[in-house]
Amino acid sequence: MLNTLALLLLYQLGGELVARFFGLPIPGPVIGMTLLLLTLLARGQVSHDTRTNVGAFLQHMSLFFVPAGVGVMVHLHRVANEWLPIVISLVVSTFAGMAVTAWVIRALSPTKHTPSKEEARR
């Protein structure tokens, strides 16, 4: 677990350094993710431990959004005043974005999709 945490933090640090150094508008963690992906592709394999630990870590990823989400209380006044446009905009645009993406992918995929192992198991 500690190995995995150190690995992630070091790549995040690397990503932050790259972002700062080149003045990129992309956050350090996204660059760190890209750097780690390139490393893994070059090495060709990931240790079993790393995969297990990362899986366990990502399972609880939605928890990490809670502190920022509580920030809604700061904007309660504005959200209450403009709740109708905000709610319609958020709901429609989120579903529209998902639908358009999925339709385009399906339209452009050459073959009929064969169900993957996980889908077949359901």
């Binding site: 945490l5 992630l8 933090l9 790549y11 995040q12 508008p25 992309i26 956050p27 963690p29 993710m33 890209t34 992906l37 893994l40 592709l41 990931v46 790393t50 995969r51 990362v54 899986g55 990502l58 399972q59 990823m61 939605s62 928890l63 990490f64 959004f65 809670v66 502190p67 920022a68 989400g69 509580v70 920030g71 209380m73 904007h75 504005r78 959200v79 403009e82 446009p85 905000i86 319609i88 905009s89 958020l90 709901v91 429609v92 645009s93 579903f95 974005g97 998902m98 639908a99 358009v100 993406t101 999925a102 385009v104 992918i105 339209a107 452009l108 169900p115 993957s116 996980e118 889908e119």
Partner: protein, 240 residues
């Protein structure tokens, strides 16, 4: 000896990481418990429940958000390493991702534009203020990118962060019934669309369905983040 009054105790502890962490974690676990007990009702999802529980408690005790965040920021910080960690499932499904490269890239541009411009267009149509409209533009992408973009195009970064999380909740918990309605079962397609439209929260949910869906979701989230960071400010400076 005099006992410390409860009010003073509270104001001492709320700033400490201990209370921020304990409060966030237990509110979230309460949310998980409620979500399971309710038979996974989308509106009783753990994130929403946790946010409401904490916000009500802070409001009832007259505690400023910043005091709570000072302690809870350690949990917030973990978003960074979690984003980096997405490289591992991406690597595991790299071959399948490459096979679908063309449809994914076209889907990315179409979906990204749809999410950003429909959000702003609809808000404007229904009479939202300009700051609210601009704050909505980058709401589909991961929090740090969205906040940066909001600042560049004239939105309010902390308001954008709120929209990002509401979007994530809508996408993560609305996606399964929505895709059943559209009759889209293909896990990679579903995953990519969820990650693109609902960033890390969508991705967290996708991982619970299958690792494959999670990997594609991570890719959709990462690519839309980069595209939005680069394109939205440029498009805006062209329009103005």
């Amino acid at each position: 000896m005099n006992a410390t009054p409860p009010v003073e105790l509270w104001s001492h502890f709320i700033r400490s990481p201990l209370l921020g962490l304990a409060l966030t974690l237990s509110a979230y676990l309460a949310g998980v418990w409620l979500f399971k007990r309710s038979g996974q009702k989308p509106y009783l999802n753990p994130i929403l429940v946790a946010i409401v529980l904490i916000a009500v408690l802070l409001w009832a005790t007259d505690t400023p958000y910043q005091d709570y965040f000072d302690g809870a920021q350690f949990i917030h910080f973990l978003l960074g390493p979690a984003t980096v960690a997405l490289a591992v499932p991406l690597h595991a499904y790299w071959r399948r991702l490459r096979e679908m490269a063309l449809p994914l890239v076209v889907g990315l541009f179409a979906g990204s534009a749809t999410a950003a411009f429909s959000a702003m267009g609809i808000a404007k149509l229904f009479g939202a203020s300009p700051e609210t409209v601009f704050s909505l533009g980058p709401k589909s992408v991961t929090t740090p990118i969205a906040m940066g973009v909001a600042e560049q195009i004239g939105g309010i970064p902390s308001l954008t962060a709120v929209f990002v999380i509401i979007t994530g909740i809508i996408g993560a918990f609305g996606a399964p019934p929505f895709f059943r309605l559209l009759r889209i079962d293909h896990h990679p397609t579903r995953g990519f669309a969820i990650g693109l439209a609902a960033h890390g929260l969508g991705t967290a949910r996708a991982f619970l369905v299958s690792e494959e869906m999670g990997a594609f979701s991570a890719l959709g989230m990462g690519l839309n983040g980069v595209l939005t960071a680069v394109l939205l400010p440029v498009l805006f400076s062209l329009l103005h």
